[in-house]
Amino acid sequence: MRQWKTLFKNEMVGHFRDRKWIWVPLVLILIAVMDPVMNYYLPQILDKVGGLPEGAVFQMPEFTGIDAIQMSISQLSSLGVLIIALISMGTIAGERKSGIAELILVKPVAYPAYILSKWAALLVLIIASYVLAMLFAWYYIGILYDTIPIGDFLVMTALYGLWLTLVLTVSIFYNTIFKSSGLVAFSTIATIILISVGSSLFGEKLSYSPSNISNHSFEFLHTGEISSSLIGSAVTTVIACLILLLLSIYIFRTKEHAG
């Protein structure tokens, strides 16, 4: 545990000096806020860039606050996932490739402590930035559309946070397999796309799929009731994370750490 703390603290300081604690929150805020704000100002924007041709009839749809938060989440699901893959792709793979890992792992470091410290430090960074981004989105949506009850909103934020945790955990998993950061990022994104596409193709059968968390939590925002599917997909996500972490540790143990 003491080793884990040492490693974790070191990771946090590293992310901080890397300015990750500045740009990751900023980028996620931008991603979460962009679509709701753009949609609200769309008529003005269209007007400014020359307007519609004479006679064209353009009916702007009426968005609710929940529609707006769906826009934020859909952006986070694509661009947000990309950002997570980017900041985590080299966390272990890069250290192994450069040789830094050689110096660290030759000390009597427990492998679980090494992997879990990497995972936890990125998790704290990602979740803190994501929650901040969601609060910004909630604030703007409240001003521009209608206010979503903060309690429901936080429950939804927490649940979708599980999905982002899974994205990070998948990346950590590939980090223990590959030495090339690019390959890690590619595999992570490919896996996430596969899960998402699979779940939307077989939506009925895969109701408990982790990627359905967002759909189920929108339903929750509409109805105010936590459905069994929502609980189901949340539990699947947590279990998937645990299994991936155990597998990562197991794989890392069997790897050679030099050359």
């Binding site: 003491r2 080793q3 040492t6 590293g14 890397d18 050689e102 110096l103 000390k107 050679e256 050359g259």
Partner: protein, 302 residues
């Protein structure tokens, strides 16, 4: 007393064998040099001992430990090209390394402060490692390897990349460290080994071809060489020397004729006799004891 012994240690990769079943033991308190040309398997052996690579076959037994135990807490290791997190300062990295090796924060701080002075990077220890020169990184590498006072210090080519001054300083440092721990270091520069080490392990193509103390090995391979230089073309004298009973294996090395001699006094007598009788224009008559290098070449050819 043996600190560590390895039996039939083997490391194979898909298409080649880096280490072909070697046996050796390291005596406690000695400085041992692992000598061999590039590609002999030096780095592989050090990495196996450091726990970074898993041997394909074989056993490693550390005194007081079960076979193939995790030895990392007894071992300090410096890779050939150490890479540090460039955003950290030397101080931070040393304390971090110390804490990973179960020192308390306070112990790690004290030890770090002492070591930066010892290795001579005190002036820069609060600066990011990213700006360090190669020599400074090498010194920091040694400091991080001994932060937890290991019993066995493994160094992979610790001086090969240093300038003459840095090399001298590191060798002096090793001389001092010898009193506190057993040192195994690899090198292809035989002079360095000769200077600080007691024992040698000669490695060639993944096999240990010779092991023992420097004195023993020197005695074993002792054949001296007589070197002759002439004012004019030496080739004509080569023929004459080869005609002598003890000079048959004479050969020409650039402008010097070399005569390997098992019995020096006999060769000296014959050569000098011929030289005086025929009035050879000798410039130099030099008796050269076998260097470690020649010893190594001989062992390789065996």
């Amino acid at each position: 007393m043996n600190l560590l012994s390895a039996t039939s240690l083997k490391k194979t990769y898909k298409d080649y064998t880096a280490v072909r079943g070697v046996d050796f033991s390291l005596t406690s308190g000695k400085c041992i040099a692992l000598i061999g040309p590039n590609g002999a398997g030096k780095t592989t052996i050090l990495r196996i001992l450091a726990g970074l690579l898993k041997p394909t076959e074989g056993k490693i037994r550390f005194s007081g430990q079960p076979a193939n135990a995790d030895l990392r807490k007894f071992i300090g290791y410096l890779p050939q090209y150490p890479v540090f997190p460039s955003w950290m300062t030397a101080k931070e990295f040393l304390i971090f390394s110390g804490e990973l090796a179960y020192l308390s924060k306070k112990e790690a701080e004290e030890r770090a402060e002492k070591l930066v002075e010892e290795v001579g990077i005190k002036d820069a220890w609060n600066k990011p490692i990213g700006g360090y020169s190669g020599g400074m990184k090498q010194r920091l590498g040694i400091a991080q390897a001994i932060i937890h006072s290991p019993k066995l210090l493994l160094l992979d080519e610790p001086v090969s990349s240093l300038d003459p001054i840095g090399r001298r300083e590191v060798l002096t440092l090793l001389e001092k460290l010898k009193e506190e721990m057993t040192i195994l270091f690899s090198t292809h520069i035989l002079n360095d080994a000769e200077e600080v080490c007691d024992d040698l392990l000669l490695l060639h193509k993944g096999e240990i071809i010779e092991a023992g103390s420097i004195l023993e090995l020197r005695k074993k391979y002792q054949t001296s060489v007589i070197e002759l230089e002439f004012q004019d073309n030496p080739e004509q004298y080569l023929e004459k020397l080869r005609a002598l009973p003890s000079g048959t294996s004479s050969y020409l090395d650039r402008n010097t004729i070399k005569i390997p001699a098992a019995d020096i006094s006999k060769v000296r007598y014959e050569v000098l006799k011929a030289a005086t009788e025929e009035n050879w224009p000798l410039v130099e008559f030099h008796l050269n004891r076998a260097s470690l290098e020649e010893m190594f070449m001989k062992a390789v050819k065996k």
